[in-house]
Symmetry: C2
Amino acid sequence: MEDKFVPNIVVGRLPLYLRTLQLMSQEGRRVTSSQELGERLGISAAQIRKDLSQFGEFGKQGTGYNIDFLTDQLRQILCVNRVWDVAIVGIGDVGHALARYQGFSNRGFRIVLLFDNDPQKIGMNVGGFTIQDISDMVAKIKEAGVQIAMLSVPVEHAQQVTNSLLEAGVKAILNYAPINISIPVNVRVQYIDPVLHLQRMTYYLE
Amino acid sequence: MEDKFVPNIVVGRLPLYLRTLQLMSQEGRRVTSSQELGERLGISAAQIRKDLSQFGEFGKQGTGYNIDFLTDQLRQILCVNRVWDVAIVGIGDVGHALARYQGFSNRGFRIVLLFDNDPQKIGMNVGGFTIQDISDMVAKIKEAGVQIAMLSVPVEHAQQVTNSLLEAGVKAILNYAPINISIPVNVRVQYIDPVLHLQRMTYYLE
DNA sequence: AAAATTTGGATCTTTTTGTATCAAATTTGT
DNA sequence: ACAAATTTGATACAAAAAGATCCAAATTTT
């Protein structure tokens, strides 16, 4: 059951389930059903049960799912039942916002390193961390054993900085630069570009 | 050809094509091929040709695609051959970064309104715009005829603010709050939650 | 004790997505 | 001028994903 291939699209829905379950838990809820989850997410109950059943049996007939239990299980499946150290490269407005964001810690992530190439910024404190010289990035990331980076540098430096991250052993990159970056197959990338999302919606307007 | 139904996933790839074409144009390129585009995007050439052929014939055998022509066509298809006014609600770190971002204007969008509920922030200038009282939001958005909003308020206010946006006539929302919001079927939403993206990658790490 | 919920598994169909192939048009090289 | 190479757009085919039931078993509610 554990080493079966799971479609990417299913993996992508799990964090969504997890997020909603954690919200429910904060609301003081104890149990939920695939139907209720589905209504909150706009996904069919059958789909949710099908997704979850790929990993095991987490529910109880007649009752539904124990929220805290299912939360734990999902955290285990997604490997966020631990804390991942994350580096941020490029402390412009976006990097700044990320460095100060309080929502990472309770969902499995912790910012530990900030880098920029601007002498004006190096040494500054943002969100409790000191911005370090990007020249030292490879060594510092290696030393800290950081495997995840968020990339918020200008487009024109994105690939070059990515290469350094790869050299430093980073295995997952969240890329805020509006460009596709080249990476080896054993490294993961996710992209965030607000304009891309906006353009996806304008197609349907009017 | 024009009013045929096009799958959502295809529409989602068009902005990606557009972004890469615009980059190529900036590099001084004149023509490209589905193969080159595919290599830069990690998408098969066949997929790209199939996607484009849903909307018409934009290429030339033996030559490929004229970059500026295809760019224009895609902008037309995506309705970004015009400028869309956008409001930002919630001027915390994220709203701040969005308000100051210079990458919207050349891709079809223009920030025109900022709102927050914090008396300390109201009246402040960010990125050339004055933060306005969220109490006046519905009226101001209606008056300006704004149809697109970016939502960067705390989770606990997301739904309530969304309801106001709907009342104001907003038809597309880019939601940065880590929660699913309820909206009628004729309104579009896109979600951005960095943690969701990170959790999607940790599944594959180790 | 009966009725109502709800899961997890099975099956089946439909839709969607992705891949492969190929003729026709065009460019490039000789 | 002619042959070889490139590239599109269309079609056909294969794979993946989603959706629709259905149902037995377990549990809760009435």
